[in-house]
């Protein structure tokens, strides 16, 4: 992964990871049962804590990025996707070379086709 990650992109990745964790606990019967039985997790309480953490990190986003994230979240839970070999893995469109080379370093980049935030996957 690109070591020079923009701080706002780092926050977006954290939010996406937390939402994934939340979804798995809330909607995945197997994951929920596993966490409850093997680790003694109170899943409902855990979901509440994850929601609180997501809100906390979301509040750290710059307002324009937060607004874009909220708009995208209404349509899809995949708002941050990897850029692999110049291809957006949200919509599988190839980015122009110059655009893909700048992903993650100096700004928070989005796919020109689907609008999802992009990061360079490791």
């Amino acid at each position: 992964m690109n070591g020079g990650m923009h701080p706002q992109l780092e926050l977006l990745l954290q939010i996406q990871d937390l939402r994934s964790q939340r979804s798995e606990l809330a909607e995945g019967e197997v994951a929920r049962a596993f966490e409850e039985q093997e680790f003694g997790i109170d899943v409902d309480e855990a979901i509440g804590r994850l929601d609180a953490k997501i809100d906390e990190i979301r509040a750290e986003l710059e307002p324009p990025i937060r607004r874009r994230l909220d708009r995208m979240t209404r349509g899809s839970d995949r708002t941050v996707v990897p850029l692999i070999n110049g291809v957006c893995y949200g919509c599988f469109t190839a980015l122009p070379t110059a655009e893909s080379a700048s992903v993650g370093r100096q700004a928070v980049n989005s796919c020109g086709n689907c609008g999802r935030f992009l990061y360079v996957a490791g």
Partner: protein
């Protein structure tokens, strides 16, 4: 699917140096060979998972795990701390053996939960901790899983 398929030599450390839960998590993450930013993001996710409830499942074993975008496929690592550390385990005993499991949120192979389940089963076998204690090299650890891990 065999558990041995997921372990590799560079992802095994038999003499962890950390003295605290946080230090151990960071050492385990370092075994995955990620860049620094990815390591930081992964560390935060693992800490948050631990804050929901310790992954120390008892008998000296912990299975810290999470999903994260910083990895593009299922990654597994093993670490051993002979002296043991306080990991807030479910049985309040020190943890000596750590199985780190990380997978991307959208994992094509869909092996994250099966691998977690198998490791949890392995951890419950009566002589598991003895076998892990006796391992003298990463190669022996890999052999252990090839010969004796649950199939």
């Amino acid at each position: 699917m065999e558990l041995s398929d997921f372990f590799y030599r560079d992802g095994i450390e038999l003499e962890l140096q950390g003295e605290t839960k946080d230090e151990i998590l960071k050492e385990l993450i370092a075994l995955l060979g990620l860049d620094e930013k990815s390591e930081n993001i992964l560390y935060k996710m693992l800490k948050r998972r631990e804050n929901l409830g310790s992954t120390g499942i008892g008998r000296g074993i912990a299975i810290p795990h999470c999903r994260s975008l910083v990895v593009s496929k299922l990654r597994v690592a093993f670490g051993r701390k002979p002296q043991g550390i306080d990991f807030n385990a479910i049985d309040n005993q020190p943890v000596h053996y750590f199985f780190l499991i990380v997978a991307p949120p959208l994992e094509v192979s869909n092996q994250y939960l099966p691998v977690l389940g198998r490791l949890a089963q392995f951890a419950k076998e009566p002589d598991t901790t003895r076998r892990l204690e006796e391992v003298a090299s990463p190669e022996e650890f890999l052999e252990l899983f090839e010969q004796q891990a649950p199939r």
